[in-house]
Amino acid sequence: MTIFHYDKTFEGLLTAVFDAYNRKTFPDRLLAIDEPEPLFVDELFTVVSDEEKSKRVWKGLTKKLQHNTCNMITYAWLSELPGSDELIFRYIRKTFDNKQSIETNFADDDVLQLKKLAQKVNHERHRLIELVRFQKASDEIFFAPVSPDHNSLPLTLDHFADRFADQKWVIYDTRRNYGFYYDMKTITEMTLDSTDLFPKGKLDEKLMAEDEKLYQELWKGYFKAMTIKERINLKLQRQHLPKRYWKYLTEKQ
């Protein structure tokens, strides 16, 4: 069994592809730097992430694959699911080894799985866009905590910069402990030292803008008034608004 260790970054993964072709040995498993190897290892290699190498691999991919498929690879990477890196590795290898494009051969398990994974992340991206609820803080910044299953927050930024171009906002991923701040011009990545400011996804009342409470009441009242009792369908509601998002939905408090 051949094992590659790498630093679990996307750049590292692409470097691993480069090194594998260079060495002409292909890993059966891709492990993190400190991950213990299984028994019976024939060959061990540690990948050192290299910008030059990873760029060359990516350029090769953009030549061979459609723009959409390249996006799918990044989406699959952002899923952060165990094994997604090995899947992407196999996919890239199949792309380079085949003369013809494999992009639409969905009878191939790796191709189908990569598509499904990318789809999952894309669905979550849509759900984030739909279900983010901003709370206005006293310094006029609109704040929204999220905790997506996959790392799909960066994929939503274009939308929010477009949609709320004239407001300052922060969207913060509490699960990965990082977020993005928009100052009406550019978006910058940020990390907070502590998440005490918003226990349970709610902004601390002392930090809220004066009228924020009133707006929340208004929104809840609207939600209540719009409900058609005869058509309540809780199963359908859970499909569209999965329960794991409820803690951030004002109307569900």
Binding site: I102, T104, N105, F106, A107, D108, D109, L112, D162, R163, F164, A165, D166, I228, E230, R231
Partner: protein, 308 residues
């Protein structure tokens, strides 16, 4: 409605104008246009709203007259036509220069109330099909009737909105828009109403057993779309993937095809399941509509032990 249609419409247009220009609201706005509104006001609304809708409410004019003698379909179809003109003109303008103003970029929609009057599904779907033939019409909504008062005897007394019928109508609507079905294939004089027990696509397949089994590896896209259990996405996956290799039933299953239904209507490389043309449509229908027994329920074929 307050005063005249134009009076109400004018106030609504003023509201969305303020939302867009003063409050800089960049989100989606769907505005219900008032039947009988004038062309200028509809045109103004289209400049600020993403989607406009004029509701038909009752699918046939004589029933509309019965419930609301002062209303007619003319007052609904006219604003619809204004919207359509606006959308087409704006598209033409924008093809010439990109800075031309957009007009209702998400098109228009309409709504019909189901179950309040005695229209058949055939009448309803023929109306929708005619509406979809117009360029800017994106959606027709079917809304099950919910009684709001008990004193009006012209309306039926229903305990529950006709939800299953509503669902079947939406399924038929999807067949019209995405599955390349013609409306007279879904409902005709022999079957004026949709089957509530099975979906309209399966119903079509059972009425036409001679069209099956379909060879997944050879049939064209339009025919693959007609197989029950295969949706638009999986049909596209099949057509793309079969250029590489012949597809087997295991591949189909992985792609997300509902084999429980599809198995009676397809052939692929191996697969030797009884299909609809070998057996009979009645048999397939029976198998597919059989109610599943709840888990742990006693098997009706097994005799109970009565030793005490």
């Amino acid at each position: 409605m307050i005063n005249t249609p134009d009076y109400t419409m004018e106030r609504m247009v003023r509201v969305i104008k303020v939302l867009r220009t003063v409050h800089r609201f960049n989100g989606y706005i769907h505005m219900k246009s008032i039947p009988g509104a004038s062309q200028q006001l509809v045109h103004e609304a289209g400049l600020y709203a993403d989607r406009l809708s004029v509701n038909i409410e009752i699918p046939t004019e004589q029933n509309l007259k019965m419930l609301a003698p002062e209303k007619d379909h003319e007052s609904v179809y006219k604003p619809m036509l204004y919207i359509q003109q606006g959308v087409l003109e704006s598209a033409e303008e924008r093809a010439k220069h990109r800075s031309a103003p957009r007009f209702a970029p998400a098109g228009q929609s309409t709504q019909m109330i189901i179950g309040a009057t005695d229209e058949t599904d055939k009448q309803i779907l023929f109306t929708s099909a005619a509406l979809y033939n117009r360029p800017s019409m994106k959606r027709v909504y079917y809304s099950g009737y919910i009684p709001v008062n008990s004193y009006d005897t012209r309306l039926p007394a229903l305990k529950q909105a006709p939800l299953v019928r509503e669902n079947r109508l939406y399924q038929a609507d999807w067949l019209l828009r995405f599955y390349e079905f013609k409306v007279d294939e879904i409902v005709d004089d022999k079957n004026p109403d949709l089957d509530l027990e099975i979906d309209p696509k399966l119903a079509w397949a059972l009425r036409h057993p001679e069209a099956f089994p379909v060879d997944i590896n050879k049939a064209d896209y339009a025919m693959i779309l007609r197989i029950p259990g295969i949706g638009v996405k999986s049909a596209k996956l099949i057509v793309m993937s079969r250029r590489y290799n012949k597809l087997k039933s295991a591949d189909l299953k992985k792609m997300g095809i509902v084999m429980k239904k599809a198995q009676y209507f397809i052939t692929c490389n191996e697969l030797a399941v009884q299909n609809v043309s070998d057996s009979s449509p009645e048999y397939v229908r029976k198998v597919l509509t059989e109610k599943k027994l709840p888990k742990n329920a006693p098997d009706p074929n097994q005799l109970a032990l009565i030793f005490e």
